[in-house]
């Protein structure tokens, strides 16, 4: 059996990649995708923990399912907002969306 650490390392890498994406990307859509990456890392974590540490309970698995669901809703919601921005401003670059500051 693969040790749990492998899953955790994988999820950590994914999570970090997600963070990197959020910080480095300028397109709202890419940022959103990076966030999704982070959420997937969370799901992996939950599933790994659930399977390895508490196999008799489903909490972790259910958690993962909910995370996926929420993530899906999040994408829908976020894209709608990005769309509005794009409609009004013809850009999805977050650096250009800075009317409000200071």
């Amino acid at each position: 059996m693969i040790p749990i650490q492998h899953f955790l390392v994988l999820s950590s890498i994914l999570f970090s990649l997600g963070i990197y994406g959020v910080l480095a990307r300028r397109s709202a859509v890419l940022i959103l995708m990076s966030v999704e990456l982070m959420l997937q890392a969370v799901s992996i974590n939950f599933i790994a923990f659930a399977v390895y540490l508490a196999p008799e309970e489903f909490t972790g698995l259910i958690f993962a399912i909910f995370v996926i669901t929420v993530a899906a809703a999040e994408v829908g919601l976020a894209l709608a907002i990005v769309l509005r921005i794009y409609r009004n401003k013809a850009t999805a670059n977050v650096d250009e969306v800075d009317i409000m500051k200071w």
Partner: protein
């Protein structure tokens, strides 16, 4: 496992009402124009009243959702916030926004989210409620869809919210990995034992959770979204965010840390204290520089978060004092802040302006409004007669009880700083020259709502005993096991 679905009745009312509002909006055009807001308010009120059925009860639904005084308190609290948000929105929405049905439905959904954040007794429920609250707010923030500011605020709020909830979730997953449970009480039990083997994971998880919740309540440095979202959002939504998002965040924050993480209190106390100090300093100092009333209130609310965080930093295993003080101040703050926002909304309805300089001469044109805004701002600043004085006093004292005198000192200092920028607003209202000398028409309903809030401000300010008793009754429930027993009837 208790599967008594009736325990969720207030939320059923809300959800049902939300659905009804959407349909009414679709099918009954005439009503939607003028009365929809008040109808929504009635729904929130109905749910509030319903929730009183479980007053002094102590039960739970499927080990997921607790129904006890803590829940009831926040159900009532959020329900009332919903009522005021709806009433305050009525005119604004009618004049400026499309799709009022969905708007009010979303408000009611935030109430559900908030209530369950307080009611949750395990991580998943908490997370889902938090997202319910957040999602509704994301939508509401960008509700003025042709307004760039609204779009921008929504985008920032949404993306950062998603980002931070990912962080929050990752933290939860680590905690779950360490404790193998998502139940708060279970976590508490595990943490009470020996944790030496997995400290790294545990604390990393804790840090991530603090970050996630910190984002929700807008603690420095996770606060960045606040000013922009506040400024961008339609005014009533700003009011709603400032009230319910913060209160919900703290309801969960408090419950999580009191119920689950209390055994580690010595480890996280100083970190929260540090966050608290940074938050109140930054919030209050930057607020001095603001020219927009919404941004001003945003920063001032960041400052208030600093004070509230003191309450968590001062949590102790011996008694519920700090928790009670936190909730008390939360109530005082929300009432005052709502009153301030209602004033801003009324003014915006008249003039479509929200720069502080636009408030010049308001005392001439609308004396009551100027008075009401002054009172709410002074209450926020913690001046006597008004709610803020008592609640801050109790909160700070609670922090000092836990040897956080230095933190309380910073808090007192920053709340002194805050008086300055509130006074600037007052100065504009009372000393500025109005553009034109005419009086504004009197908006009776809004004024009535404002009057109720002001009465609340005075009630808390002059006779806090009932509220404090209620708060104390509710916070007694968030301490598990041995501590819970110790807290009942606490006091020296």
């Amino acid at each position: 496992m208790n599967l008594d679905w009736s325990l969720l009745a207030p939320e059923y009312v809300l959800a049902g009402w939300a659905a009804m509002l959407v349909s009414v909006d679709l099918f009954w055009g005439r009503l939607r124009k003028d009365w929809l807001g008040y109808l929504a308010a009635a729904g929130a009120l109905a749910s509030t009243l319903t929730s009183l059925i479980w007053l002094n009860d102590d039960t739970n639904f499927a080990n997921l959702i607790e129904v006890n005084n803590y829940t009831t308190f926040f159900r009532v609290f959020f329900g009332l916030i919903g009522v005021f948000a709806c009433v305050a929105s009525a005119r604004f929405v009618k004049d400026r926004l499309l799709h009022p049905g969905e708007y009010y439905a979303l408000i009611l959904l935030t109430v559900i989210g908030g209530s369950y954040m307080a009611a949750a007794r395990e991580l998943l429920t908490a997370y889902i409620s938090l997202e319910l609250l957040s999602f509704s707010l994301y939508v509401l923030t960008s509700y003025a869809k042709f307004d760039l500011r609204s779009n921008e605020g929504g985008l920032k709020y949404m993306l950062l919210g998603a980002f931070s909830s990912a962080i929050f979730l990752f933290g939860m997953s680590l905690i779950y990995g360490v404790t193998r449970t998502t139940q708060f009480e279970g976590i508490h039990e595990v943490l009470t034992g020996d944790t030496s083997g997995f400290e790294l994971t545990l604390f990393l998880g804790l840090v991530l959770i603090i970050a996630g919740l910190g984002f929700k309540v807008a603690a420095v440095p996770f606060h960045m979204w606040t000013p922009d979202a506040y400024e961008g959002a339609p005014l009533p939504v700003t009011a709603l965010i400032s009230a319910i998002s913060k209160a919900g965040g703290f309801a969960l924050f408090l419950k999580l840390f009191a119920m689950a993480f209390l055994p580690l209190v010595d480890d996280w106390r100083l970190f929260l204290a540090g966050l608290s100090a940074a938050t109140m300093l930054l919030g209050n100092l930057v607020a001095i520089q603001q020219h927009n009333i919404k941004r001003l209130l945003a920063y001032s609310s960041i400052g208030q978060v600093g004070y509230l965080l003191m309450g968590i930093a001062a949590l102790s295993a011996d008694n519920a004092d700090a928790a009670s003080a936190l909730v008390l101040h939360l109530a005082g703050y929300v009432i005052s802040n709502l009153a301030a926002f209602v004033c801003a909304i009324i003014y915006f309805n008249w003039t479509e302006k929200d720069e502080i300089a636009d408030y010049d001469g308001l005392a001439e044109r609308a004396p009551f409004l100027a008075l009401a805004l002054s009172i709410s701002l002074f209450s926020l600043a913690g001046m006597p007669l008004f709610a803020g004085f008592v609640t801050k006093f109790i909160l700070f004292q609670a922090a000092v009880e836990e040897d956080l005198l230095w933190l309380a000192s910073i808090a007192v200092f920053t709340s002194f700083v805050s008086l300055y920028y509130y006074l600037v607003v007052v100065k504009h209202m009372y000393l500025g020259e109005p553009e034109e000398p005419t009086r504004f028409p009197t908006p009776w309903v809004e004024y009535a709502a404002l009057a109720v809030l002001l009465i609340g401000v005075f009630l808390v300010g002059l006779g806090p005993q009932p509220l404090f008793n209620a708060v104390q009754d509710s916070t007694a429930f968030i301490f598990t096991g041995a501590e819970a027993a110790a807290t009942v009837g606490a006091g020296p």
